[in-house]
């Protein structure tokens, strides 16, 4: 019982971070209709920003988080303004090809610049735990979980209650009508992609604290984010949180009861089941 509770808590903590990872992907997908295959590579870059700020300048990873987000926002904005706007609203296949190309370039660049070595962001408090009802809670994971949820909430409030957030949603719902009222789609697209990349950057920084990083983590993280976006649905950030936590729990349980090598089988198996039975996501409307 104790073990099960511990595993469930681990799963939830991991799931919060997963949700933040998937949030940027879901946002870009919903607004731009681009499944960004380079999303994981952006997470990877965010992780390296956090890593180098910590090792070279001794910046605490939780303080480095906003910096990683700003850096990645710029990367994302420039990618969209410079490259992806050329294929805005093009067929899905074109966008897949281009974002796959960006993924390859970013991954190779990272390998050349940062080497293929495994790294981890390891602040002094990395091993510190506290106990609650007999369950061990590592501080960094709890903090990462809290920050991930806060960022998700902030994102949601931004979309709902600001002028730009409204513009982003309007563009997603009816591009033609948005243009009639002075919305410049290219600017909105660049901004949205920048925000998606910033969320990836923040997630990457947190990921570097709780896990190991190397230039190749991107592909797996893209796939996980994709699965979470599908499971949660693209309709609201709440769905992404549910999807992320759901996946975190499934992975933790699978690792314990079936074996760590089956984690991906379970998560992608569930992806397939969701696509068959609830194609609009766990929280999505059934119609």
């Amino acid at each position: 019982m104790q073990l099960l509770a511990q595993v469930l808590v681990n799963g939830v903590l991991l799931g919060g971070l997963y949700a933040l990872m998937a949030l940027g992907l879901a946002l870009v997908w919903g607004v731009l209709n681009i499944v960004n295959l380079a999303h994981g590579a952006l997470i990877m870059l965010g992780a390296y920003v956090g890593y180098y700020l910590f090792t070279l300048l001794d910046v605490d990873p939780f303080i480095a988080l906003p910096i990683a987000m700003v850096v990645l926002f710029c990367v994302g904005y420039l990618l969209q303004a410079g490259i992806l706007n050329l294929i805005a609203r093009a067929a899905m296949f074109n966008t897949l090809l281009i974002t796959f190309g960006i993924d390859v370039v970013l991954t190779q660049l990272a390998q050349m610049l940062f080497s293929a070595d495994y790294r981890t962001i390891n602040p002094g408090y990395a091993g510190a735990n506290f106990m609650l009802f007999g369950i061990t809670l590592p501080w960094v994971r709890v903090l990462a979980f809290a920050v991930a949820l806060l960022l998700t909430l902030a994102m949601w409030l931004f979309l709902l209650h600001t002028r730009l957030g409204r513009g982003i949603r309007a563009t997603a719902q009816n591009l033609g009508a948005a243009r009639l009222y002075g919305v410049s789609p290219k600017r909105i697209y660049a901004l949205t992609f920048g925000i998606g990349a910033a969320l990836a950057g923040g997630a990457g920084d947190l990921y570097g604290v709780v896990s190991q990083i190397n230039p190749y983590i991107g592909a797996t993280l893209t796939a996980k984010s994709f699965a979470i976006a599908i499971i949660g649905g693209l309709e609201s950030p709440l769905g992404v949180v549910v999807g992320g936590i759901f996946l975190g729990i499934v992975e933790s349980l699978t690792a314990l009861y079936i074996g760590p090598t089956f984690v991906d089988v379970a998560s992608f198996g569930i992806l397939v089941l969701v696509l068959i039975f609830r194609p609009n996501g766990l929280l999505g409307s059934t119609t």
Binding site: R163, R166, G167, R169, A170, Q173, N174, G176, A177, A178, R179, L180, Y181, G182, V183, S184
Partner: protein, 237 residues
């Protein structure tokens, strides 16, 4: 004629190689309601698209004496030429209030936006009642109110209303036409594009009849609605 708000002279426009509009001349004076009528496929919507520069064409387009032909759609919008598109084109998943606020997206003057919002609610009390409801859940008439309200939020100088009556009950159409008269009294010029010829001519000062891409008749609304040619073509009398 230089006192006109909008002037179109010798406009040719179309899609690809096929010209839809051939040598169109129209003028809209300040504070007028001008009806642009004609059956489906006459080129009315194409003319609106050419005016808002979504579609390029050749000919002279001026707004307050300013040449429109070198402007982008965004710049035309900023001059105050605002469309209420055919089929309303609301943001269905967003609330009525959010739809209205999208009309003011390009404006940064918060206080003045609130004042415009208040005047839109005054014009359409229904929209105030329904302000937190999703636009997609409104009735057709309310959706059209929301679309007009959204355009008014942009503080138009020239409001171009495309097929407002489409799919609406006559009694609702009459209400909306009355609102357009009120809007005109508040200083907004209206270009009303309609298939429902006689409804449009009821509120308009002047009218143009379009057929197959060109203006075939023009005159005061009263003269047009009494014209035997127009009656035969659009009422079957």
């Amino acid at each position: 004629m230089s006192g006109n708000l909008l002037e179109v002279q010798g406009l040719f426009a179309g899609y690809g190689e096929v010209p839809v509009l051939r040598d169109v001349h129209i003028a809209v004076g300040r504070g007028e309601i001008v009806a642009l009528v004609g059956s489906n496929g006459a080129g009315k919507t194409t003319l609106l698209r050419a005016l808002s520069r979504v579609l390029s064409g050749t000919g002279k387009l001026t707004f307050e004496g300013r040449d429109l032909s070198c402007l982008t759609p965004e710049q035309v919008f900023k001059l105050g030429i605002v469309q209420v598109p055919e089929g309303r084109q609301l943001f269905d998943q967003m609330t009525v209030l959010e739809n209205l606020m999208m009309g003011a997206f390009a404006r940064r003057d918060r206080k003045a936006i609130q004042e415009t919002l208040a005047s839109v609610y005054e014009l359409f009390p229904k929209l105030y009642e329904r302000r937190t409801q999703r636009a997609g859940s409104l009735s057709g008439g309310e959706q059209q109110m929301c679309a007009i309200g959204r355009a008014l939020m942009a503080m138009p100088r020239l409001l171009m209303v495309d097929e407002m009556s489409l799919g609406l009950a006559p009694v609702i159409v009459d209400q909306l036409l009355e609102v357009l008269s009120t809007i005109r009294k508040q200083g907004v010029t209206v270009l009303l594009v309609e298939q429902d010829v006689f409804a449009a001519l009821e509120v308009a000062d002047r009218g143009y009849v379009m057929e197959t891409g060109t203006v075939t008749q023009s005159g005061t609304a009263q003269a047009l609605s009494e014209d035997p040619e127009v009656k035969r073509a659009y009422l079957g009398i």
